[in-house]
Symmetry: C2
Subunit: 481 residues, 2 copies
């Protein structure tokens, strides 16, 4: 280890020792994010932002393919608008930032920094919509929102975060419900096919639903530490907002109607999920399709004739088939230091190429997820690497699914649940009566919550596992971020 190398050794706390500290070490030491001068606000550094850009590109394409268009609504919302829908203001007012002055002047009415944009968007929809012929409205915006949080952690819960928020209007209740589920399915597909993150999908209980929603649908993922993460939500808002904001249209019979309404969003929180589903004690493990760098090429004995030339040739070869590839030919650091560095950063594949490899017409490739090393022939190398990236994705998804399934279990009774929620966490499957009081008690006694009423219902008996009354739904219960 050279002097330069030593200086840059970075240590990550083992996740078995202290999971929250492991998370903090990983996000800071891999340069994903940093704390800012404003408490609870984060700076997303280039390596973290590049992950977000990949998520954006993937979703934006899916949204457009399903007929959605992007637009932009103001950052600031008058207090009077926020107050128009009763449940909504109750849910959000305690956590908004208020603008009271513009320049030197005190404003006649306070403006809140948007915590979400249903209210301002509905005020515009009310102005625009005239006829059923214009429906559906399928609009989305990419922006940041502010929610004044007391306790924050980068990506998982911050006072400002980046997200997309879709806001749609429909002629009928059925169409709004279809849209709500269509989007949830886009989210689920993205979680699995981009992030290699398996999710449970279902409906939120009334207690856990969005403030002002008719019904909220969610996808829930299981983290390494056995806690659940709500990774995306899609709301069927019914006519709650369209009535409060007097959005009307002339229907096919010439009658004035309120349209049906949905909203849905995913945020930079997904990055937190990604880290806690796949990371290990060496740092990040990024699924190939979302990784900013998919392959890093590290030349060995790069001063020897032909090594760098060949390395650059490989880089171009991979770039030409669309692989996000980097070559690190920095002479100040040893190959060993670079191996550690890119392992910590979670780059899916490392390619080592030295004089002997060139002689043998091969490279050495090391998978980040398994640390397996294999030699790959230069012949057909691009295809081999593309296949390897797909294999890694599939294996990571399978491993995460296995972990999730191994930590999903049935319970005997409430006592059993309390015990399991202390010992191993994970997802408990249980029957529930559907009563709010029972749900409140569940949280008070165990710290866990009903994560969702899954679409895939199982019949686990006819009694509520928590209170013994008649069961209504089968649910997933977990402690959550």
């Amino acid at each position: 280890m050279s002097k330069n190398d030593k200086e840059f050794v970075k240590e990550i706390t083992a996740m078995e020792v202290d999971f929250p500290q492991w998370y903090t070490d990983v996000i800071l030491k891999t340069d994903l994010v940093d704390y800012s001068p404003v408490k609870g606000f984060m700076v997303i550094k280039p390596y973290g932002y590049a992950i977000w850009e990949n998520i954006q590109n993937y979703l934006d394409k899916k949204f457009k393919e399903t007929g959605h268009k992007n637009c932009y609504f103001p950052l600031l919302i008058p207090e009077s608008l926020l107050k128009k829908e009763a449940e909504h203001v109750e849910g959000f007012a305690p956590e908004v930032a208020w603008v009271t002055h513009g320049g030197k002047e005190k404003l006649a009415e306070r403006l809140c920094v948007r915590p979400t944009s249903e209210t301002i968007i509905c005020s515009m929809y009310a102005k625009w919509l005239k006829s059923y012929r214009e429906l559906p409205y399928l609009y989305n915006q990419w922006c940041s929102v502010v929610r004044w949080e007391k306790s924050t952690r980068p990506f998982l819960r911050t006072s400002e975060f980046l997200w997309q928020e879709g806001h749609t209007l429909h002629e009928t209740e059925e169409e709004a419900q279809e849209e709500t589920l269509r989007i949830l399915e886009i989210y689920r597909e993205m979680a699995e096919n981009l992030l290699a993150m398996p999710v449970i999908t279902g409906r939120k209980s009334d207690k856990e639903k969005f403030a002002g929603a008719h019904a909220t649908y969610t996808m829930e993922a299981l983290m390494h530490d056995g806690k659940a993460l709500q990774a995306g939500t899609s709301h069927n808002l019914g006519q709650h907002f369209t009535k409060a904001f007097e959005i009307t249209f002339l229907d096919r019979n010439g009658d004035l109607q309120n349209p049906y309404h949905t909203s849905w969003g995913v945020s930079t929180r997904l990055i937190g999920g990604l880290i806690m589903v796949h990371g290990d004690n060496r740092g990040l493990v990024l699924p190939p399709r979302v990784a900013p760098i998919q392959v890093v090429i590290i030349p060995i004995a790069q001063h020897k004739e032909g090594v760098l030339d060949k390395a650059y040739e490989l880089k171009k070869l991979l770039q030409d088939v669309g692989v996000r590839v980097e070559l690190d030919d920095n002479e100040n650091y040893s190959p060993g230091w670079k191996f550690n560095e890119y392992e910590m950063k979670g780059v899916p594949v490392r390619i080592e190429i030295g004089p002997r490899d060139i002689q043998n017409n091969q490279v050495m490739a090391v998978r980040r997820d398994t640390l397996e090393k294999q030699s790959i022939s230069m012949d057909g190398l691009a295809d081999s690497i593309l296949n390897l990236l797909d294999t890694i994705h599939n294996d990571m998804l399978e491993r995460a699914r296995k972990h999730r399934d191994e930590n999903t279990y049935y319970i005997e009774d409430f006592e059993d649940l309390k015990k399991k929620m202390t010992e191993k966490l994970g997802f408990a499957k249980a029957m529930w009566c559907g009563e709010r009081e029972c749900e409140d008690n569940l949280k008070a006694e165990t710290g866990a919550t009903i994560r969702c009423i899954p679409f895939k219902q199982e019949d686990l008996g006819d009694k509520c596992h928590f209170c013994g009354k008649k069961a209504k739904h089968m649910v997933y219960v977990a402690k959550a971020y």
Copy 2:
């Protein structure tokens, strides 16, 4: 004209009658934008936002090709940070929005909604930077900013707008200057090759430069009404901020140094420029490369056998070569109504296809910029359309350049300038002494300002045209948005 048609006739004030009203009519009636419930804030509707997305995609690619990476810094900036650079706070404090409360609690320190992010970014750079080895820092962010404006117009001057802001650090003064000019050149190239908008590039006077800058470089375009628009700026910030924020690094000799600093941005204001450079009394005229819809196909007698099939075939043909094409087969509107509608919306090429065209193995194509109609053979149609789009771009750029040149003139003396600035506006070329007092007087007497000290200097004599003292620079003078 059918009943439906009549209902949707939209009238646009002629620009010769009332240019500001023409502008307002165009942006509202073509659904680019709308006013919001918060004074001075605009809603960017899907058709307007799609233009912004095309600008974003174009620039983002150029930034990345030149080594820049995207990141995200907090929306809210503590008052104490804003105050660290004296000129900067003086320039921006009067026009920021202040957050004073989070939820129910009053904040210990006021936070401003970012008007620009030099201060918060510098506070982070001070924390991160250690060694010359890490330089340059080449970071950019896409976001919205808020500046509390008294008098606003959508796109041109609004209290919130979307933009990108690049913030870079360099080892040497020379490198910072190179970066400043490299970015200005990216902007100029984009203005001409994407927006077909010719620009004058040069340096701002000290009076007009960015608050806290060493030097500001600008590109200035001329609008239809003879007023200038500052369309993008790139600032060499020297060490003003890096000293105020104590950003230091160990240089190659092991000495502690302040790095050199640049920032640069373009905004949704470009869309306003686009409209006022190319629009006409029928509405928008969009340059093909930035147009959300490049070609619209309108079937004639679409109920006749084979017409719609052929129209869809054409659509696919054009899509396959990357043309942004739409087909309007709405039966509720006549072809004539659709012609008007897409002309107003500025779609560069309209393709009409009916039974007779099919019989003749051709389509009719109408250029939006010239309204010229031509028949184009189905054989090689995709190539013909791609060529036509390029021709339209080149012709639009040439026409705008011709208009600019015809409205750029020399003046005899200050009296002559006053007269011209009342009669025809445009760009006046003049010699200037370089004194602030003279510049203030110029503005007071004519309402015009020095737009820039152009890179291409001409020798127009040795006396200042405004005060008669010794001339220092040749400048462009205009009334401006």
